[in-house]
Point group: C2
Chain length 456, copies 2
């Protein structure tokens, strides 16, 4: 139904862009509802999107960049002339600007920085020095700071003069500075509102406020914002000078990003966001890196089967059960991985809990291994009416379920302890070990019971 | 290193709780740092945690409930006497309270509601009527509303009197009401601060403010909060009476929850949060529901192998490659699933884009299929030196990669179009179809080339 209509939107956008009239393109984009605009822009490749960005005003282009995913925005900005790119990036908030520039090649980034105003250049160099998973990488450089000696009335007048510079959510606190420009207090907007106007900031402010260093890692920031209800927190240097402000909204966004990245990893997209607007070869290469590793591990695991070629030849029905045991053990083990990853991120499990977690998983492994073993054994019996076959595949799957949940539960903790990313590495380790072990179990049981299995 | 020390924390907590002295338990808990407290509480089963909650003051118990995951909190509250439970829940914010009560059995919830104060009962009944993925299910019932006819000075005095009732972030806007109590405007705290004190609210406020209905779904809320920078939005009924306020912070939390739930689903945890503090049988049963479905699908897929028993017997080396083809096709397909799910949630892909997405995936499928086919074919050739074997398994994996990414890319869109949850159902559909197709490809190619394969 909507296919042709939607198809038209981005094609029409391209046509309008081809005519190159700024006003017409802007009007066309503004008339779309937000969802349609995001969707239409996403259908353009980076060159086409770059073209749209150069036609419209820099201010308008910046708004478009805010609406689309950073990965796509950066690709398009990379297509622009550095001068045009710098002009558009000027219009963004400091942290959004840095997010985009951080995704560019070093050459492209340098060229753009060279074209930017001194203020923007400094803010960019400042923000880009910190990794994106630290307070410094997430903070904004826009904030309100006043000498602690001012009166409430003077602060209000200062705000009146500067109010246009700050978005709603960036202006919830006024930071109070001491004589050397160091942070000495925080004055929430609410307290300023309720205060007598002649009082001075230092009599109203919260002294010794909580602040973080630029290199404070994400996980600590999550805990801090969970524990306190503030909307933002100042980022300070060694001398307590304010480098920027970290907003709750940006920390929450980082949390969403992390959860999304973990989900992508669980499905094998490991090099960050992949959108279909990125170039084919980039997408293919990134996916292949993961697939190549996995195929090597798969070959290693399956080589166990080659060792039992004679058994398999004597009881060919077993070949049907090998992929089932491999898949099902992966399934069971992945459930345990999921729970361990979740408990790690909630802080309710720690690497040192490995033994306790293994015990809890082993209990489930016994129950579920029994159930799955009976199911697969029953299926084998129904198919061939051979009790030995049923016992061999049932026992192998049952035992391997126990192995799989044990590994799945414990491996994420071990990886975390040694500083590896558990969301990334748990899957391949799990499937390789459980495949090997599963094949070994079913084929060695079968070798043992070969006399009873012959000719199934 | 830390194992024994950490082990001691929760055991010591149990010992202190057993002595039953409120002050001592509270002191012990307060002395722990936050991370240790969360971790120690998580080691308690619901009965033990319930015991701790009844010993300490209701206010203290409420703080503990806020720190631990809702699933665990609800289990423990379910263990309490309804009167004790009601007393503790009184101390929570309205939305947090409703989150916990919503997870209880209906009987337990009713018993607790019967013990609550009339105000709490009404707030609970009000919030619980809305599904948790709607504005009504996420809103708070605490907010500040004043007649639009008041002056700024009168509003400030009203706030002074009530300031204790509101947390920092819940008090960013004052809602202005008309004569019938309907919402007529919103006054941001910042504008109130900067206003002359004799001006009336209706001359300062933003008229016709954006508001949502209680049943507005999550996805629309995400888009709304992306588009605007407000910290909260009023939830109104048919007559524009305010039912509650939806805070950005709660919408962000819902977004994290959704990303986490999707990751859990991708690993086969489908019935919501599983923590190891939940009862063994509950955990085992929930996981088995998913595993049982998967084993049936696996058996169906593997039955294709049974059809080609003779081929397999004649070229037993193929048995080594069957699990590899099954696993690798699942891997490739899951990458495509991940990208489609992500694009759906970003709004850059829609069900009507299926054809275009299929085309984009097919291009990658050709490239990656070729690469993986060469890898596995090369491995087969190195192992057996049989070109036919290399061609059969290489061609089968290559083609099946194309099939897998096509299905993986398109199935999530189709599921979304028909109202199913793509994060949940894409996996099993993908692996069943690609397994069947992979087995069929390799074994039918092998049957065709059997003369050249004999005795590998």
């Amino acid at each position: 139904m909507s296919e042709p209509a939607e198809g038209k939107v981005w094609k029409r956008l391209l046509e309008v862009a081809k005519e190159g009239d700024a006003r017409e393109v802007e009007t066309y984009l503004e008339e779309l509802d937000d969802a349609d605009r995001v969707h239409a822009l996403a259908q353009l490749d980076s060159e086409e999107l770059g073209r749209v960005l150069t036609i419209v005003s820099a201010e308008h282009a910046a708004e478009l960049l805010e609406e689309i995913p950073d990965a796509h925005a950066a690709e398009a900005v990379g297509e622009l002339h550095p001068h045009d790119a710098a002009e558009i990036l000027e219009e963004l908030w400091s942290d959004e600007r840095a997010d985009i520039v951080a995704r560019l090649d070093a050459d492209e980034a340098d060229a753009i920085i060279a074209e930017a105003t001194p203020e923007t250049t400094e803010s960019l160099r400042h923000l880009l020095q910190y990794p994106s998973d630290t307070a410094g990488g997430l903070m904004q450089t826009e904030f309100v700071a006043v000498p602690a000696s001012l009166t409430a009335q003077e602060v209000i007048e200062h705000l009146r003069e500067n109010v246009e510079r700050y978005a709603d959510f960036a202006l919830q606190y006024v930071y109070a500075l001491g004589e050397r420009g160091e942070l000495v207090g925080v004055l929430p907007l609410r307290d300023l509102l309720l205060a007598r106007r002649k009082r001075t900031v230092d009599s109203l402010m919260i002294s010794n406020p909580i602040s973080v260093r630029a290199l404070t890692p994400l996980q600590d920031l999550f805990e801090l914002f969970d524990q306190y209800e503030f909307l933002g927190i100042p980022v300070t240097d060694d001398e307590m000078k304010i480098e920027g402000v970290l907003l709750r909204e940006d920390v929450d966004e980082a949390r969403v990003d992390q959860a999304v990245a973990d989900e992508l990893k669980s499905r094998g997209i490991i090099s960050g966001e992949e959108l279909r607007s990125l170039p084919l070869l980039t997408r293919s290469r990134r996916r292949l890196a993961w697939l190549s590793l996995n195929i090597l591990l798969n070959i290693a695991a399956a080589s166990v089967i080659a060792l039992y070629q004679d058994t398999l030849q004597a009881a060919i029905a077993l070949a049907v059960f090998l992929p089932i045991i491999s898949d099902m053990s992966g399934c069971s083990g992945n459930q345990a991985v999921a729970v361990s990853l979740r408990e790690l991120s909630l802080g309710v499990a720690r690497p040192s809990d490995a033994l306790r977690i293994w015990w809890k998983e082993a209990s489930i492994g016994c129950l579920n291994g029994l159930a799955l073993g009976c199911l697969i054994g029953g299926a084998a019996w129904l198919w061939k009416g051979n009790l030995a076959l049923a016992l061999v595949v049932g026992a192998a799957l049952g035992l391997n379920t126990l192995v799989a949940v044990s590994i799945g539960g414990v491996v994420p903790l071990v990886l975390r302890r040694f500083g590896f990313d558990p969301a990334l590495a748990s899957g391949p380790i799990l499937t390789t070990v459980t495949d090997m072990c599963g094949f070994l179990l079913v084929l060695s049981f079968a070798t043992f019971a070969l006399a009873k299995l012959a000719a199934v």
